[in-house]
Each structure stands twice: as structure tokens, then as C-alpha cells.
Symmetry: C2
Subunit: 132 residues, 2 copies
């Protein structure tokens, strides 16, 4: 028994203007929350826009753990972490980030948090398969 799954997503080739748009990024994170039936803890949403040419950050403290996003307009990159201690379906990161941010490449890594036993093995390698 682990304490959850973490999805680690790196999206490259994104549209820089969209990565600077805090409202757009916020709506994207809210869409993920709604579509995966996640629950945001009261007062648990934090957003920040860094001075130009910087990007934006959004953090959600969830009943299920957390959702984080950082954008780097100068690199065309957006990164996401979704850590869920409750089983959730896969979100369609690749097509949805292509549509929302104009991403040309989306890499999804899936980590098991604190697997039991924590030692490495075939099961973990299987569970932590990488998909792009």
C-alpha cells in the first residue's frame, strides 16, 4: 500500500502569451480539479504572477494532496504536479495541454509515493512507467 500517486508533467513548446495569462492558467487548473472530482481545502488555492518576463504559479491544497503549476514563458514550458492519495482516473494531459497551452510535447511521469515495501522492484518499475 502506497500513500498515493504523483503525476509529474512537463509541457514544452507552449505559447508564451498563454503561459503569462494567470486567468487562463487558473481556469486550466480549475478544470483539472472539476474533471477529476478533486476537493480544494478551504483557503487552499494560491496564485502568483511573477514580474515580466516571468510566468505564473498556482498551488491547490487538496483533500487528496496537491496540484501545482509553474510556467516559464521564456522557455515555452509549463510544469504540473498532481499528487493524489485517493485513486483517480488518468487525466488526458497531452491533448488537453496541446489545446489549452499550444504545447508541442507533453511528458507525463507517474510516481508511486512511498510504496510498501519502499524497496525497488518490478512492481514499482511497472507502476512508474513513463508515458509521453
Amino acid at each position: 500500500m502506497s500513500v498515493g500517486i504523483e503525476w509529474v508533467i512537463d509541457a514544452d513548446g507552449c505559447d508564451a502569451e498563454r503561459l503569462r495569462d494567470l486567468g487562463l492558467v487558473r481556469r486550466l487548473l480549475e478544470t483539472i480539479v472539476v474533471e477529476l472530482s478533486l476537493r480544494v481545502v478551504e483557503g487552499g488555492a494560491t496564485f502568483h504572477a511573477f514580474p515580466a518576463p516571468g510566468g505564473v504559479t498556482g498551488l491547490f491544497l487538496l483533500t487528496e494532496s496537491h496540484l501545482a503549476c509553474h510556467t516559464y514563458p521564456e522557455r515555452g514550458v509549463a510544469t504540473f504536479n498532481l499528487y493524489c492519495c485517493r485513486e483517480r482516473p488518468e487525466w488526458a494531459w497531452e491533448p488537453k495541454l496541446r489545446a489549452a497551452l499550444g504545447a508541442s510535447q507533453v511528458r507525463v511521469r507517474r510516481l508511486i509515493r512511498c510504496p510498501d515495501p519502499m524497496s525497488t522492484g518490478a512492481e514499482r518499475a511497472f507502476a512508474e512507467r513513463e508515458r509521453s
Copy 2:
């Protein structure tokens, strides 16, 4: 050029009472912030204690990205994410989490976020070495 390093830490065998102590967990996160010279964005610290027998969560929105901690007293587990888009030294996770939380096993994974090029290779395998 990547957009940063993420340390993913799972600590097992921790003392359950300490994992329920929001003040202790908050001080631990603040110690990490101070010792690594991280900068918390104004209003960017969020904490939550779940109802018993639940644990606690802390999230820091950093100029350097984010620091997150979730505890699971019923499992004796604490998990941490430290994502830094600015080069930082290694924090001594294993001895410090043994001392602070009574952890018996600490696993540290190190991920490169959005390496350039994002394709896999020996360089990434080297950078993402696992240490325990």
C-alpha cells in the same frame, strides 16, 4: 537547459505523534526554507491539519517554485516535494528527517523538470539518480 530540479522524498517509519503536530511540521519546512536560502512569496504559505486520525499538509509557494509536505500518521509516512528552478545545494534529507520525525527509512528521488531536449538519455539517467 532544464527548468529546474525536483526532489521527491518519502520518509517511512516516522513517529505518528510528530506527524500530527502541525507546529513541528511547519518549523521543519521553515528550517528547509532557511537552510537552503529559499524565498517564500508573500502570502504563499498554506497549512492544513486534517481531522484525526489524519495528518497535516504544508505548501510553500516559492520564488524558486514550491515546497510541499504531506503526513500520514496512520502509516508513519511523511512525503516532501521540493521543486527549485534555481540551483540549490542538496539538503541532508535522510539524517534531518530521522532526527525531526524519527524516520527509519528515507528515499530521495531527484527529477529534472523539462530537460532540453526532453528526450531520454544517459544524461537524464545520471541526473535523476536515486539515492536513499
